[in-house]
Structures are given as structure tokens and as C-alpha cells.
């Protein structure tokens, strides 16, 4: 049952990424050229509803379906890891034209070349794991 639930959530998300065109290289490029409101509208409207919903969850102490606290742990306070890591991510996002969620979606859509991007992303994750203790965080 649980397996099916997460598969269905993922499938919904995959269709959403594809149909919203957030998985399209062209939309990412167009966003960084400020050529359309589309991507800003997607992220902005998700964010406004996200902020409102999470404020409601906090105000009324809404629990998960199992009655536990929501998974809203604050991230560790730091500057370097977010600034450096974030900038490197942005360079890659614009170069490959895809972020992690859409990568899986595009693989399913049959774009063989995205497997090379995913391979690169796995390699990057692995190398980060090796270098982690030597990097400023």
C-alpha cells in the first residue's frame, strides 16, 4: 500500500513536471533570459501557497496522518555551504538545463542523453561525499 502511495505521488509529480514544462531545457534557459513569467509564476505561486500552508500547520500545530510532528526541521545555520554549493548547483542547472526532479522525468520520457547528466550528477554527489570533510561548510 505504502509502495503504491509513493509511486502514485511520484507519477503525479512526474506528469506535473513534464506538463508544466518545468522539465524543459528551453524553459530553464528562457527563465535565465527573463523571457517569460512562466517559471517565475510556477515557483512563485508554489511558494506563496507553501508559506501560507506551513504557517497554518505551525499555528494550529497540525500533525501528520500518523499524528506525528511535521518534518520541518530547520537547516543548519551556515553561509559558505549554501552560497558556494548553491552557486555550483546553479551553474550546473543552467548548463544541463535540468535539476534533479526533472532529470528522472526526462529519463522516463525517453531522452537517452539525460542518463549522461544523471551519471554526472551521481558522480558529483559521490565526489562531494569524498571531499566533504575538506570543504568549508
Amino acid at each position: 500500500m505504502k509502495t503504491l502511495f509513493y509511486l502514485v505521488v511520484g507519477t503525479f509529480f512526474g506528469i506535473l513536471m513534464y506538463k508544466s514544462e518545468a522539465a524543459s531545457w528551453f524553459r530553464i534557459y528562457e527563465m535565465f533570459e527573463f523571457g517569460s513569467f512562466h517559471m517565475y509564476g510556477i515557483i512563485g505561486s508554489a511558494l506563496i501557497l507553501g508559506i501560507l500552508g506551513i504557517q497554518l500547520i505551525k499555528r494550529f500545530d497540525i500533525k501528520t496522518l500518523k499524528g506525528q510532528d511535521m518534518h520541518l526541521k530547520p537547516k543548519n545555520k551556515s553561509f559558505y555551504r549554501y552560497a558556494i554549493g548553491g552557486t555550483l548547483f546553479g551553474l550546473g542547472w543552467a548548463l544541463a538545463g535540468a535539476c534533479p526532479g526533472p532529470m528522472y522525468v526526462l529519463a522516463g520520457a525517453g531522452y537517452v542523453s539525460i542518463l549522461i547528466v544523471i551519471f554526472g550528477a551521481l558522480l558529483g554527489t559521490f565526489i562531494y561525499g569524498l571531499l566533504r570533510n575538506k570543504l568549508p561548510h
Binding site: T3, F5, Y6, G10, F13, G14, I15, L16, M17, A22, A23, W25, I28, F32, G35, S36, H38, I42, I43, A46, L47, L49, G50, I51, G53, I54, H71, A83, I84, G86, L88, F89, G90, L91, G92, W93, A94, L95, P100, G101, M103, V105, L106, A107, A109, Y111, V112, S113, I116, V117, G120, A121, L122, G124, T125, F126, Y128, G129, L130, R132
Partner: protein, 185 residues
Amino acid sequence: MNWIYDPWPWYVSGPLIALTMFILLFAGRQFGMSSNLRNLCAASGGGKAADFFKFDWKKERWNLLVMVGAALGGFIASQYLSNNTVEINPDVAQKLETYGIYSANEAYMPTEIFSLEALSDPANILILIIGGFLVGFGARYAGGCTSGHAISGLSNLQLPSLIAVIGFFAGGMVMIHLIYPLLFL
């Protein structure tokens, strides 16, 4: 029946992304797609090389299932729910032509980069690998990607996520406006 193939506008897509995040929150999970890259490294034995991959990845099985679902969703949408073309701003499409990319408004992904024929160009393969590498390395360094920081983290008004998202955007701007002209012109 054309409406089935039409793209979803931002005011439908954005709220549905928020819905996805809330569904996962109610299930006791946190929306984050790049964590699966770490899970895959751990599942394929990365724990032998670095402590970062020594954790019980089977507890993250739910997220791997979301990932498999996302791929399935991509298959369904591209096969049955889309004509697989993306219309973008004509000025932007024209600028792309100066970079040798002519498939805007005709394809979902630029055929000049993502078609099988394009794989015969080693420079193109390098672009795909380096792009992916930076995404994977940067996402783990920053502790999240677009879903974990720009949606989940910012929704929770977290300062670290704001720093990360400013970084995402700064990196993207540098790539598109400073490095693309060097790569493609």
C-alpha cells in the same frame, strides 16, 4: 481533445507543486529530489568509500519510489499527454539561433544537445557530464536542490534556503550570460 496535449499554465502547475509538498508532509516526509542521488550512491556501496554514504538507505526507500514514479510520470506525459514541443518567447528563440540551437518551438528538449546524433560530438557529452556533475555536487554541498530549498525550505522561511536559492540563481545567470557565449558562439 487538443486540451489534453496543451501545457499546464503556471497558475495550475505552481499550486500542484505545493500540493505535492503538502501530501509528502502529511505522510511524514520532506519533499527533496536530490537526496535520491545520495540514496543511490549509498545503495550501490558508496559507504565503503565515504562515511557520507554510510546510512540506512532502505529507510529512504519511499523517496526512491517517488523517483521511479517521476520517471513513470515522464513516460506517461510524453507518450499520451503532450505533443512534446515547447513554445518560448520568440526573442529568446532567436537568440538561441545565434548559438546554433534551432529546435525552439519544435521540440521539448533542444535536439542539438539531446538527440542521439548529438552524442557523436564529444564536446556535447562533456557539457552533459559537467552540467550533471555540478548539479550533483552543488546540491549535496548546499544540502538541497530546487525542491528542497526553493520550495520546501523557502516555504518554511529558512534563511539557509534563501542563501542557497540566491546562489542557484547567481550561478544560472553566470552560466547563461557569461559562459554560454564562450561555449556556443
